[in-house]
Amino acid sequence: MAKKSYDFLFKLLIIGDSGVGKTSILFRFSDDAFNTTFISTIGIDFKIKTIELRGKKIKLQIWDTAGQERFHTITTSYYRGAMGILLVYDISDMKSFENVMKWTRNINEHANEDVERMILGNKCDKESERMVTKEMGEQIAREHGIRFMETSAKTNINIEKAFTDLASAILDKTVGREAMDTSTRIDINRKTEERLNRCC
């Protein structure tokens, strides 16, 4: 069997209104210089990014949801397998902030109960066009018990941190669960070893 090149694989979803910058968050901004015709026409399904956290190598599989999708069309199948969700609004667009409530309800209805969530107030570089204060973002996050930060995909503020913090929260949960399963796991390991010994 091929050797596994990582310790954990976490599936993450980016959701939020159209135009808030979901796709941009997954893209290292650079004057649009490399945007190739072919790829931008067919679109990207997901990305794999690798990070290291506490000595563990973690692969993030990140799904960007398409712009036209609205909360009422995003249902259970969309959220299937997602362990983390980044819910994005645009600090210069009040409507996108108001819709955070609707997105949250949609997540509660359709996503896995213990999915890790994080709200991102994106485009924080657009200070002069700001409509949503940072306090408003913090407030709504607190009400829902969700992590929050402001980001800028354009000037690369908090983008790495958003992914690392979300992954870190999932890692805590996963490792906690594994520790609880240790007793059964040891049993399984032993059986596997026996089987291996027999066949070799």
Binding site: A2, S5, Y6, L9, L26, F27, R28, S30, D32, A33, F34, N35, T36, T37, F38, I39, S40, T41, I42, G43, I44, D45, F46, K47, I48, K49, T50, K59, Q61
Partner: protein, 124 residues
Amino acid sequence: MENTEEFDVKPLISDGQNKGSVRCALCNSLILNPGMGEYRSEETALPNMRKRKDAECEEEEEPLSDFWFVRNVYTFENVGISKAKEGKKYLTCADCEIGPIGWCTLANDDCYVAIKRVKNIVSS
């Protein structure tokens, strides 16, 4: 990006695998660690990596013959997977999205990275 002169892949291969790491030719993002791809010589044409500005040439394809075969998408350090088109998905750089740098099957398992379209770092 299209470089028509013959290039020698032998120095890039060790034990049938990629000797050095594979990086994006444009932004240097780490795509594949050493030894994670298997050399495969196959004739496959991929759409050009043209910029949006040169849209007239969008349908052009380039024949390619040297690939790193990677068993599934999770083997990559960083990569983007396009939506399906005519039974194929295409690989891009995860950071700058240049591509296609290769292709993969619909089930995201067999992946082929075009050796000519990436930077192969072999330290001497």
